[in-house]
Amino acid sequence: MTIAVEDTKRKWDGAAKSIDLLSFADDRRFGGYKRRLFAKMYGKSLMVATGTGNDFKYFPPGLDIDALDISPKMLEKAAPRAEGYPGTLTLREMDVCNLDYPDNTFDTVLTVCTFCSVPKPVVGLSELHRVLKPGGQILMFEHMRSAVAQFGVLLDMMTPLSRKFGPDLNRDTVGNVLKAGFRLRRVENVYLDIMRIIEAVKD
């Protein structure tokens, strides 16, 4: 395992203790958007960077879902929530940049505030592209750099600090999705042009 992967794992193991503190506002301000996005899941599904499983409650019932995280501490917290899912939900410790799945495995891939944190986002997205079946979809609820100069510069300035204990704030996630080979189906602004829903497909 590389030093970068170990560093990432250590960072998110540390964050596992407190990350649910953020769920109060997120659930109330963004819960409806997530529920609407998750309702588009179908078939064999993969959720990346599952965290403590706070978003499991938005899954439609009856799906077969693999939920991954690089952090064992996060997965420990997610386990009780996974047990409550009315379908098949399997937790696995895995790095999104090195997925242990064959090509063309999943119909749907889901990410929630994931690609702000993956050190090599295009590599990770390319892995997701590989494991998606042709015609499969990726559904993303992500924050990213604003195209509005005032906000973009601010997010650039804050990223060196935020990166030490959590995510980057200035990723070009829409651009990274395109670089990984996906075709954009839909982009929706949820808060300014920072919190966004991205839907893309593998042709």
């Binding site: 506002a25 997120d26 929706e188």
Partner: protein
């Protein structure tokens, strides 16, 4: 409603703290550029502390983005004003101006958010 009120209260708090902090360290006659830079720095520090303190309760980005505008620009404006001896006559008046500035910025950002909100690309629509 909780979040709407909370957004405004936090914005006003950042405005008040920035206005008072700038007033505390400025004096008439200080070079305006220096005053604006100091004001901006103070405002950025205040916005950062307040936004991280209440972000978990109100949402990190909904708190951080308005607070950043209030801290950065408010600090510059207040610094410029105080360097010209054109500031508020009392601490209370300075706090009131800070609160009004904060509320106006929060309201403006809510309007801007509504303008940006929604689908921006729909390849199958």
């Amino acid at each position: 409603m909780f979040f709407q009120i909370g957004d405004f209260l936090v914005g006003m708090a950042v405005g008040v703290l920035t206005a008072l902090a700038v007033r505390a360290v400025m004096w008439p006659g200080i070079d305006m550029v220096i005053a604006m830079l100091i004001g901006m720095g103070l405002g950025m520090i205040i916005h950062f502390v307040v936004a991280f303190a209440v972000g978990p309760l109100l949402g990190m980005f909904q708190t951080m983005m308005p607070a950043s505008v209030i801290g950065m620009y408010g600090g510059m404006f207040f610094g410029m004003r105080d360097s010209m001896d054109a500031g508020s006559a009392s601490w209370g008046a300075a706090a009131l101006v800070g609160a009004i500035f904060g509320a106006v910025v929060v309201a403006a950002l809510k309007v801007y958010d509504r303008a940006l909100h929604g689908t921006v690309l729909d390849a199958e629509g």
